[in-house]
Structure formats: structure tokens, C-alpha cells
């Protein structure tokens, strides 16, 4: 019996707003083994961040997890007390936010914050904690770490702050890191440095990783498996090779085809028509159907997630044929 490190089962997180119920996450299931990297992709508003926040019990009101389970090493975190969650956060599951100032305190020096972060979960002396912090900064490409530890967040550029937040997440070699678009603001050369460290950590310590992004290129280079979200649901999941090489859901295929480097230079890009639906006003049935070139009468009923395996599945009545792949010319 191999119980995965993390199993998310039918997770539903809704926001009760005056304008109506926003079903930001509406029945999401994921699984992750030790050392595995899962890329969570989808367009803006599809529910990626809320999924990550729900796993850690960090959803802000008026949002609430209204259904499903989050099993972390067999323990259900939905409904776990705040004290228990705090013990897990940081040490065993670390979150890297899109905005590094969610992690950093503007009035404390970087060194103070990092030493505190080390000592919050481990009984080590100040000198040892300082040394660990130094090494963590070097790992994310920050030179002269001693000087930097003495500095305050405002003395760093946006990209450097983000790297400090990433260094803090790496401090304890947690079992799971949830990273929410952490490198979108960074230069590709620095991004590559961060991805190098993250890959190394997963390989060497068995840390598992959920990497939230809309950048398919990063996902394809970094992840083992991918889950594609659309309007609060997972619409396709599989290994990177399966998703990139043979997407079955029309939305996934459309996303891949619109990447500029997969199109011939100078000719119009293939693109998905229409726009992202509002979660308050989702179409009946498959939420993608107003934009889908394969839709039929059946699509006004929501298809189930089904496929070859639990982790190779798609949510579509008329999936793209198994061998027909829209390859770039």
C-alpha cells in the first residue's frame, strides 16, 4: 500500500460574496508522492492560488473550504486546528507566495527573520541558525550573504526579496513546498538558478513540490506531472510527456498551440477564441464549451474526469485523439 505524501480529494473552496457564491475551487483532486514535482497551470482566476492556500488552511474570509479532504501523510488538514496547522507550516509544508512581502516583515532585518525562522522549528543556537541562513542565501544566488543578512527588506530589489522568501522556504528541507508563481518577476538567468536549487532539493531530500504557474515552458522543464485547471476544476492531468506531447483536453491543446515559440515566426499564432469566463457566471456543463472547437450537444452536461489512470485523465466528452497532436511546424 503506497499512501502518497499528499492526497487532495474533491476539494471545494467557495467565497460567499454579495454578488453570489464564487466557486473558486470546485472539486479538485490531486496526489503527490515524495520528491515529486507537480506543475499546476491554468489561466488567471482558474483557482490555482486558492487551491494552494486551501491545502495549508490559509484561505481568507469570505472564503471557506466547503468540501473535500486534504490528506497530508494520512492526516486530514481540513478541519485541523490552527495550532496543529501552525506546527506543520514552515517546517513540513512551506509556502512561497507570489508577493514576497507576504513572507517578510519590513521592520526586521533579513538575518533576524531567518534566524527566527530556523529557531521556530528547531532547537539550534544562534550561531548555527545564522550559518544556516547564510548558506540558504548563497543557494538562491545572493552574494555577500553576511552584509545582506544585516540589511532590511526595503534595501533589496523585488527580485532579491523574492529570492530571500524562497531561501526561507528552503531552510528546513520541508516535506512539501507550495510555490505560487515565485519566479515570474525574475530574470531568466536568476530563474534558472532558483530552479536548479529547487530541483536539487527535491532530488536530494525528497521534498515534494507544487509549482503554480501559467508558464508552460517552466513547467515542462521542471515538473514530473502536470495538472491543468480551468474555472475551478482540474480539466487534465498527466506526466509532462503526456500533457505536452499528447494533450487530450481541447483547452490544454489550445494553450500549447498558442505558445509563440511553437509557432512559425511571423505567421499568426494559433489562439483560443473568446475569453476567460467569470466564475460568477459559468456556462452550464463544461465551462470551456463557449470557446471550444470540439463542443457538441453533450457538452452542456459537465463531463467527469476520466482516462487511462487516476493520474492520467481528462474532463471532456470529445477528447483530442490519442495520436493527433497539433505539433508546431
Amino acid at each position: 500500500m503506497t499512501e502518497p505524501l499528499l492526497r487532495v480529494d474533491g476539494l471545494k473552496t467557495h467565497f460567499l460574496t454579495r454578488a453570489g457564491t464564487v466557486k473558486a475551487v470546485d472539486g479538485v483532486s490531486l496526489r503527490l508522492d515524495r520528491g515529486e514535482i507537480l506543475g499546476l497551470v491554468g489561466e488567471s482566476g482558474s483557482g490555482k492560488s486558492v487551491t494552494g492556500q486551501s491545502i495549508l488552511g490559509l484561505v481568507d474570509p469570505p472564503g471557506r473550504v466547503v468540501g473535500g479532504r486534504v490528506l497530508f501523510q494520512g492526516e486530514d488538514l481540513v478541519g485541523a486546528g490552527e495550532k496543529r496547522l501552525r506546527a506543520i507550516r514552515g517546517r513540513r509544508i512551506a509556502m512561497i507566495f507570489q508577493d514576497p512581502m507576504m513572507t517578510l516583515n519590513p521592520v526586521l532585518s533579513i538575518g533576524t527573520q531567518m534566524v527566527e525562522a530556523v529557531q521556530a522549528h528547531e532547537k539550534v543556537g544562534r550561531a548555527e541558525a545564522w550559518e544556516r541562513s547564510r548558506r540558504a542565501l548563497v543557494r538562491v544566488g545572493i552574494a555577500s550573504p553576511d552584509e545582506r543578512l544585516a540589511a532590511y527588506p526595503h534595501q533589496f530589489s523585488g527580485g532579491m526579496r523574492q529570492r530571500v522568501a524562497i531561501a526561507i522556504a528552503l531552510l528546513h528541507s520541508p516535506d512539501l513546498i507550495i510555490a505560487d508563481e515565485p519566479t515570474t518577476a525574475l530574470d531568466v538567468t536568476i530563474q534558472a538558478q532558483i530552479l536548479f536549487e529547487v530541483q536539487k532539493l527535491c532530488r536530494e531530500t525528497g521534498t515534494a513540490l507544487i509549482w503554480v504557474t501559467h508558464d508552460l515552458a517552466v513547467v515542462s522543464a521542471l515538473a514530473d506531472r502536470v495538472a491543468v485547471m480551468y474555472a475551478g476544476r482540474v480539466v487534465e492531468t498527466g506526466t509532462v510527456a503526456e500533457i505536452i506531447g499528447n494533450p487530450r483536453h481541447p483547452y490544454t491543446r489550445g494553450l500549447l498551440e498558442s505558445v509563440p515559440s511553437r509557432n512559425r515566426r511571423g505567421v499568426p499564432l494559433r489562439s483560443i477564441p473568446g475569453m476567460t469566463p467569470s466564475v460568477l457566471d459559468l456556462p452550464e456543463g463544461c465551462a470551456f464549451h463557449p470557446r471550444c472547437d470540439r463542443s457538441t450537444g453533450a457538452c452542456t452536461v459537465m463531463p467527469e474526469l476520466s482516462g487511462e489512470r487516476e493520474d492520467r485523465a481528462w474532463r471532456c466528452w470529445n477528447p483530442v485523439a490519442a495520436e493527433a497532436r497539433g505539433d508546431a511546424a
Binding site: E43, I190, A217, I244, S258, P273
Partner: protein, 335 residues
């Protein structure tokens, strides 16, 4: 290719004297040593853009792309250097001609929401400038805006709506319609597709390419996304710390970059592929524009750096027809 360039930059430079922010002033009162310092955001950039050409501009965050774009669009006065419009120095034009030239170069910004006045309706956002500048009589403004909306792929029925009633992609179309409203010849696009989802981004890139054909527009296309720049531009300029370090026809540059920084950038850019990749660590640290390295600004990170590199700044030289690069390696080994 030999026609007089529509826009020509000659030694264009921008210095900012950086004011301390609140926190820094506070920290200084407590005894921290923080000075007001000058940032040279753009240093002596030469660039000619031919009529109808698309020039892509890439480089890491803070290297001066937006500052350069804003100077070209006439929003930001240069500290030094010359900007020529159809071969004529902008400073030597009569006020009327300069005004005309400024209208002919328009800018499309990154964040569609932040660049549109939330209290104005689309009809006014797009229609105001052409009326004010006397391009269109007020009576005809609405019909004019309706035609523009159609041109950028929006339903003219949206005339009376406010920006918040649109999606990100639609707002970017409004921003483009507003720029087109004064009948420009040149568009400076600053990260104009960066905030958009991949599927919407493709629609807007296609719109830019269609407008180029329909209106014979010239573009300076700023983006940190190499894939986007490779797709859309005829020539690509790569900037590092305020200077252009390589400039070449796009296919040649992407096939065979010359400058070590251009190589690093292209090597590190992730591509969509079915193969997992092993990332490699970089050397060195991104330098601060407050304290640029001596000589070649890339030398602390360059795998080929030699003693000359920290002593002397390499000039941007034509190393082959239409290919420019600023690296000492071209002098020692030669093309």
C-alpha cells in the same frame, strides 16, 4: 533597408537622481548611511528604426527598457543624446512639428487596468485625444471610436462601458485603440502582453501583427519574453544595465548569439518540451545600476571575462553586416 530611419537614437542617455523613500529617510534619521544617488538607467544608446520595422527590446528587469521606450515615446526627456524623427533632431523642430512628431509615436503599456482612467467610459478614453488634437470633430467622435473598437476586435456596443467591466485582454485592446486613435506611425509597446494569459496573449500578438499590415506601423516592442520577441520582431536588441550589448536580425541572433550575455539569456530561457531539464547554477550576482561594474558591465558574470574586460568598456561594433555586438572577444579573435 536604406531609406532614412523613421526614428533614430543617438547616444540617448537618462540619469535619475534617486530620491530616498520614506523608510530610507526614516532609517537615515536613525543613523543608517544611505545617500541620494544617481542611477544611469540608459547610457548612450544608438539605434535606428526603419519605417515598417519591428524592433524587439529584451533584457533583465531594471536594465532600462521602459526608460528607453518612454524617451522614444516623448514621455520622458533624455538627459543627453539626440532623438531624430525622419532624420530631424526633435529639439530643432518648431513646436508645432514637435507636437506632431510626438503624436505620431504612441505607447501601449503593460498593465491595461492601471493605464486606463477608471472613471471614464470607453468612448471618452479612446475618443478624447483625437478630438483635443483636432484630428476628428467632436460630432464624429463616437463613430470614429466605434470604428477603432471594431479594428481592435471589440464590439462597438461597449462604447458606454467603464474599464472595470472588461477582461484583461479586452482592456489591453482598449489601450491599443486609444493609442491608435491619434493615427500614430510608431507604437512603443512596453510589456504589452506580459499581464495576459497565454491564450489571450496570442490573440493580442496577432492583433499587433494584423495592425502592422493594415496601418503600416513601426514598432519598438519591449518584452522580457524571448519567445514573444522572437516571434514578432524583425530585429532584436539585447540590453544589459542601460546599454545595448547586441543588435541583430532576429533569426540570426536567436540562431547564433554573439554576446556572452545574449548566449546566457537564450540558454536559460525555458522552452516547452517533453524533456525534463537539468538547470545549472549561475555565477555571480546581478549588479545594481546604482553601482555598475567597471569596464564591461557583464564581466562579474561572464565565463569568458579577461583582465581587459574589467578595465575597458567594449564598444558596440558591427561584427558582420547588420550584426552588432559589444564584447572584447570580437576584437581578440575577430569574426
Amino acid at each position: 533597408m536604406t531609406a532614412a530611419p523613421i526614428v533614430e537614437l543617438d547616444g540617448l542617455t537618462k540619469r535619475f537622481s534617486r530620491k530616498l523613500d520614506v523608510v530610507e529617510r526614516f532609517a537615515r534619521r536613525l543613523g543608517a548611511t544611505i545617500d541620494d544617488r544617481a542611477v544611469q538607467a540608459v547610457s548612450g544608446v544608438d539605434l535606428s528604426i526603419a519605417e515598417g520595422e519591428v524592433v524587439g527590446l529584451v533584457g533583465e528587469s531594471g536594465c532600462g527598457k521602459s526608460t528607453l521606450g518612454r524617451m522614444v515615446a516623448g514621455i520622458l526627456p533624455p538627459s543627453a543624446g539626440t532623438l531624430r524623427w525622419h532624420g530631424r533632431d526633435l529639439r530643432e523642430l518648431s513646436p508645432a512639428d514637435r507636437h506632431h512628431a510626438n503624436l505620431k509615436i504612441q505607447m501601449v503599456f503593460q498593465d491595461p487596468m492601471a493605464s486606463l482612467n477608471p472613471r471614464l467610459r470607453v468612448a471618452d478614453i479612446v475618443g478624447e485625444a483625437p478630438v483635443v488634437h483636432g484630428l476628428v470633430p467632436r460630432r464624429e467622435a463616437e463613430a470614429y471610436v466605434a470604428a477603432l473598437l471594431r479594428q481592435v476586435g471589440l464590439d462597438p456596443a461597449y462604447l458606454r462601458r467603464y474599464p472595470h467591466q472588461f477582461s484583461g485582454g479586452q482592456r489591453q485592446r482598449i489601450g491599443i485603440a486609444r493609442a491608435l486613435a491619434v493615427k500614430p506611425d510608431v507604437l512603443v509597446c512596453d510589456e504589452s502582453v506580459a499581464a495576459l494569459d497565454v491564450s489571450i496573449q496570442a490573440q493580442i500578438i496577432n492583433l499587433f501583427m494584423r495592425l502592422r499590415e493594415e496601418l503600416s506601423l513601426t514598432y519598438l516592442f519591449i518584452s522580457h519574453d524571448l519567445g514573444v520577441v522572437e516571434h514578432i520582431s524583425d530585429r532584436t536588441a539585447i540590453m544589459y544595465l542601460g546599454r545595448i550589448v547586441e543588435l541583430a536580425p532576429t533569426p540570426e541572433l536567436f540562431d547564433k548569439p554573439n554576446h556572452p550575455y545574449a548566449k546566457a539569456l537564450l540558454d536559460e530561457a525555458p522552452r516547452v518540451s517533453v524533456e525534463k531539464r537539468r538547470f545549472a547554477p549561475i555565477r555571480g550576482e546581478i549588479p545594481s545600476p546604482l553601482d555598475p561594474p567597471s569596464g564591461c558591465a557583464f564581466h562579474p558574470r561572464c565565463p569568458h571575462a579577461m583582465p581587459l574586460c574589467s578595465a575597458e568598456r567594449p564598444a558596440l561594433r558591427e561584427i558582420a553586416p547588420r550584426r552588432w555586438s559589444a564584447c572584447h572577444l570580437n576584437e581578440t579573435t575577430g569574426p
